[in-house]
């Protein structure tokens, strides 16, 4: 093995091929790096099948319309166009959200729109041709009759019943409440009440590889195979089975390399169902590669919420109670990723955050509008709620004239386990320590001393603190604590073949996180073998055990890693029994280390893993000692909930004459319990922070008054670029979970949750002297410029 270098600049430790030292905790270089960097990855666009056709969707140009006839004759007349299918050509059951929550109405979503289109970009027909270019030529010629309807765009108006109904029963899909303690008494006893409004922006996840799939139907076996850029192959298999009407035994879903997903690839997408149906109907394999314009227009959006908050405080700054109203803009369908509640429900459950709040009431609403549906995106639900709460606390600190970091600190949860008033059991954490560490690292005291309005011609400088708690490692218990009844368990299998090689099969594919490496480290340590002996396979429903939820909710390390650690322990015990037979020793005398078995106190008696595997498979006499010597262990795992925490701090400079915001420093203290691979953790933290900064300063899905998309390319939907970010400063605390295997917690979403609040709070701090409140993101810099101009004149 080649020497490995940690990703951390300061810790340029070379990690040699580890021998007996534990791999868990080491910054092992990614096992997939060489393959991916050399262009040897295999993504959907690399998959070719004999006779394969290429698909292009005809998409609605209207936000809301009655759908009339679809005429593909002119397209079919083009050379190379093989088929044009509309909804009526591909009968199927619609997609439905799968959660069971009382009072939540269902909104059936067809694979191709029929009778009605409900958002700009909704697929109406699909053209199959000899090339994608020719399919696009054909799509231009498909004639579709539309009778436009008034679009419903404002979620408040939708919730209030205004505008034409998207579905029977109205546009408000859900209204409910969380009540904890006696919030009215808490407010009655308050010395201060501070209220705020926040409009959390509509995001697009923008994975580098957009969506896509290849479908092939085998008429002989009746099997449908879908290669798909997905996070959840088993979940997608289930949805395909339900919509298409094949048993799951006859649906095979394969996730090859996936180039980013961030939650957008959790749902079964209408297009994927349509491609599967089209391939069966046309009798040839079909490939669909979504382009960037389609992805921004029609792939699910995320995160938009309208939030009103109210905080009751005692004279000394103690938080007494919290009230909130959260309205989620679900877009056109209650999406099958979970439902229209995915944003407001999760937001409401975590609204108390890291603070001791016992008296809490939150009204939760979800409405449909004529926009692309909302699905998960990194930090799902929590980004908007966290940002709203932290901006509320900033405002409270300003109104009370106290330091915002100290106000937070005085109200923080500081003993564990702690059950929040919404029923989350915070297992362990370093809430206060992470805040203190972050303040020390940024030099907070000094920054506050220098604070105040800027001198003429100088930028306004501000600092923002955003401590977070993050539900991670979702098994079914974690989901339940976030108020979802949601099967979120995994099974895994570890096998050793006669050559002594180890294969770990898991149901959670990687989308670039480095799971293969992290899981191999756990397996190698658990078995006592070398890292390069372990191969991790995932993502093929025909060969990997079931993951009901797939890769989501920062759950792979805790649930799948935990399952593998348990399976490895069992398999190791079995190996040591077989080795004892081979070496003529007692099992408790035999130990495996780095792939070699040794007998305690007798260095002459040794065996390799290969020799032990040979015996297990090919020595019939072994069965007298061990009736089942098979070297295959399967393990089910559904761990208790765990909660990561940390603190993000941003330092900004605002040019109040132009509105330009410069992010001078961005610092994060992360605590995800026991770390399997610090290099991978740092990569996760960095990526999420970048996406959080994007949401704070730049990113916004925009629709025009007629409901057509205004941010449909990467010039208009502004992702942050490397040049827009400072060098990110990372620090770590470690509070292992008492409830999970190895004390692991999940990681990967914290920056997306907490960075928008940090940056927004920093800007609010910088421009406080102008009386500008931040009530929406991305920051409207022109409001700052206008306020500064008004102050000057």
């Amino acid at each position: 093995m080649q020497p490995l270098r940690s990703s951390e600049g300061s810790a340029s430790t070379l990690v040699e091929a580890p021998g007996a030292a534990p791999l868990v905790g080491a910054p092992v270089a990614r096992l997939d790096a060489a393959r991916l960097l050399r262009g040897q990855g295999r993504y959907i666009a690399d998959i070719e099948r004999a006779g394969m056709l290429h698909a292009c969707f005809v998409r609605s140009p209207h936000a809301h319309a009655r759908l009339g006839a679809v005429d593909g004759a002119a397209a079919l007349a083009l050379e190379g166009v093989v088929a044009v299918f509309a909804a009526a050509d591909l009968p199927h059951q619609p997609l439905l959200d799968s959660v069971r929550i009382e009072g939540l109405r269902k909104t059936p979503q067809p694979a191709l729109a029929s009778e009605r289109v409900r958002f700009h970009g909704e697929p109406v027909a699909v053209v199959l041709a000899s090339s994608r270019a020719r399919a696009e030529d054909g799509a231009e010629l498909v004639r579709v009759e539309y009778e436009p309807l008034a679009p419903v765009l404002d979620p408040e108006a939708a919730a209030a019943g205004a505008g034409p109904d998207l579905f029977e029963g109205g546009n408000l899909l859900y209204r409910g409440e969380i009540v904890a303690g006696d919030v009215e008494a808490a407010f009655a006893a308050a010395d201060h009440v501070v209220s705020a409004r926040y409009h959390g922006n509509r995001y697009a996840a923008v994975p580098m590889e957009a969506r896509g799939c290849v479908a092939e139907h085998d008429p002989g076996s009746g099997e449908l195979t879908l290669w798909c850029s997905t996070q959840g192959p088993h979940q997608l298999r289930r949805r395909l089975s339900q919509t298409i009407g094949l048993p799951e035994s006859h649906v095979r879903v394969i996730a090859p390399d996936v180039g980013g997903a961030f939650g957008q690839k959790i749902p079964a997408h209408a297009e994927e169902v349509a491609i599967a149906l089209a391939a069966r109907a046309v009798g040839r394999p079909v490939r669909w590669i979504e382009d960037r314009l389609e992805n921004l227009l029609a792939a699910p959006h995320a995160k938009e919420q309208l939030i009103e908050t109210e905080l009751a405080l005692a004279a000394d700054g103690t938080f007494l109670g919290l009230r909130a109203r959260i309205l989620g803009d679900a877009g056109a369908y209650s999406h099958n990723s979970t439902s229209a509640l995915i944003e407001p429900y999760l937001s409401a459950g975590l609204m108390p955050g890291v603070y001791r709040i016992r008296d809490y009431r939150c009204e939760i609403l979800a409405a449909v509008t004529n926009k692309s549906p909302v699905a998960p995106y990194r930090g799902v639900g929590w980004t908007a709620g966290h940002t709203a709460r932290e901006l509320l606390i900033e405002k409270a600190a300003r109104q009370l004239g106290v330091d915002p970091a100290q106000l937070r600190r005085r109200n923080m949860v500081d003993s564990f386990p702690y059950e929040s008033c919404t029923g989350m059991l915070y297992d362990s954490g370093s809430y206060v320590a992470s805040l203190d560490r972050a303040l020390a690292e940024i030099g907070y005291e000094e920054l506050r001393r220098e604070g105040g309005p800027p001198a003429a011609g100088q930028p306004a400088v501000g600092v923002g603190v955003s401590p977070y708690v993050e539900p991670t490692g979702w098994g079914s218990d974690g989901a339940l604590q976030s108020r979802w009844s949601f099967a979120s368990h995994d099974s895994v299998r570890i096998e050793i073949d006669p050559s002594g090689a180890v294969t770990a099969a898991v149901g959670t594919p990687s989308q670039g996180q480095g799971h293969e490496t992290m899981l191999a480290q756990i397996v190698a340590d658990g078995l006592g073998v070398e890292l390069d002996r372990v191969r991790v396979v995932s993502g093929d429903t025909s060969g990997t055990p079931i993951s009901t939820a797939g890769t989501r909710a920062s759950r792979t390390a805790v649930v799948v890693g935990g399952a593998l650690a348990l399976a490895a322990e069992e398999l190791r015990a079995k190996l040591e029994r077989i080795a004892a037979y081979l070496l003529d020793a007692e099992p408790d005398q035999v130990r495996i280390e780095a792939g070699r078995f040794a007998v305690a106190g007798d260095s002459a008696r040794e065996a390799t893993l290969r020799e032990v595997a040979e015996v297990a498979f090919y020595d019939p006499a072994l069965r007298a000692r061990l009736p089942d010597p098979s070297l295959s262990v399967s393990r089910f795992h559904d761990p208790p909930a765990s909660y990561a925490n940390g603190c993000v701090v941003a330092l900004v400079a605002v040019d109040v004459e132009t509105g330009a915001v410069t992010l001078r420093r961005l610092l994060s203290v992360e605590d995800c319990g026991t770390v399997v691979n610090p290099a991978l953790v740092d990569g996760q933290v960095r990526g999420a922070l970048a996406q959080g900064v994007g949401g704070a300063l730049l990113e916004q899905v925009r629709y025009g008054a007629d409901g057509t998309m205004l941010s449909g390319d990467l010039r208009r939907y502004k992702l942050p670029k490397a040049t827009d970010l400072p060098a990110i400063e990372l620090h770590h605390e470690c509070s292992p979970s008492p409830f999970t295997v190895n004390g692991m917690k999940g990681v990967g979403e914290s920056g997306a949750i907490a960075a928008p609040g940090a940056v927004a709070a920093a800007v609010a701090d910088a421009v406080a002297h102008l009386g500008v409140e931040i009530e929406s993101l991305p920051i409207d810099t022109d409001r700052i410029v206008a306020a500064a101009a008004a102050e000057r004149s």
Binding site: A133, L698, R715, P720, K721, T723, D782, A789
Partner: protein
């Protein structure tokens, strides 16, 4: 995002290219760096039937700085111009403006002349080149002609070139002594087209008084907005905060910016006033520093 079908031509000489344009006129587009045209073709917003690729025409990538001035050929890359020591020394405004155009990977392919022909009023190079009083040399079926940039930009994406004409090169005159310049812009992200941008060129006399000034604003009008009239209020005196601010206010009043995805017209006027003031002061300071 696949282009509609087109015929591809790769002429080896200017005459051959001009003949192709003469033959195909409106149905042809010229390809130099392709950084704007090709994405538009992939979106089928541009649907040329014929694409005339200049990259194989020998000599068009020239970049020559002489006593008369600077000549930049039609296929000279932005990165090449930006990195040229003579450009940095004598036409620093150009290098400063190019550095704000997208990112190095795009500037490695994108051309200066192509950006001018693209005539995006929000882009850096049309405004910067106009402030430097550039001239386009165009070739058509009837031979060559010179078009001063003051007459070149006729609207968003529109120029004085006929569809059968080809821009061969940009010529920039040598700047006078004691000249300083500045390109300032507000962009939402590094590499974005500016919300608003300003090119200022100030020449001082031996006593430090403003002797000559050129000021052009990007994204302030349907074409690069020549604000020389407003800026010439500074002539005959040292450029100071008050004078520069007055020019800024006058430019903001005279500009006709639009509302678009980057910002509102109101915001643009506010920002233009600030950038004009800062750019004039910075250019004057640099002019003084060089004397």
């Amino acid at each position: 995002m696949k282009s509609a079908a087109f015929a591809y031509h790769a002429p080896a000489a200017v005459g051959e290219a001009a003949a192709l344009l003469a033959a195909h006129g409106e149905r042809a587009r010229v390809l130099a760096g392709g950084q704007s045209l090709v994405p538009l073709m992939h979106r089928r917003i541009e649907r040329p039937e014929h694409l005339v690729d200049l990259n194989r025409v020998a000599g068009l990538d020239r970049l020559e700085a002489g006593p008369e001035g600077l000549r930049i050929g039609a296929t000279a890359r932005q990165r090449q111009v930006e990195s040229d020591p003579a450009v940095a020394a004598r036409w620093p405004l150009l290098a400063e403006a190019i550095a704000e155009v997208a990112h190095p990977a795009i500037r490695n392919r994108g051309t200066v002349v192509g950006s001018l022909c693209n005539a995006d009023p929000s882009a850096e190079l049309p405004s910067a080149a106009l402030a430097l009083e550039g001239t386009i040399v165009a070739a058509g079926a009837d031979g060559e002609r010179e078009i001063p940039l003051a007459d070149f930009f006729t609207g968003p994406g529109e120029t004085a070139l006929s569809r059968s004409e080809l821009a061969l090169e940009l010529r920039l005159p040598a700047p006078p002594p004691r000249t300083g310049s500045a390109w300032l812009e507000l962009a939402r992200r590094g590499g974005d087209l500016p919300v608003a941008g300003v090119a200022a060129v100030v020449s001082l006399d031996a006593d430090g008084r403003c002797e000559r000034v050129r000021l052009v604003c990007a994204n302030a009008a349907p074409v690069p907005l020549d604000c020389r009239f407003q800026a010439e209020a500074l002539l005959g005196a040292a450029v100071d905060e008050e004078g520069a601010a007055a020019v800024g206010a006058a430019v903001a009043a005279a500009a006709g910016p639009v509302d678009d995805y980057q910002g509102s017209a109101v915001e643009r006027r506010r920002v233009l006033a600030v950038l004009v003031r800062r750019a004039l002061l910075l250019a004057a300071e640099r002019a003084g520093g060089r004397s």
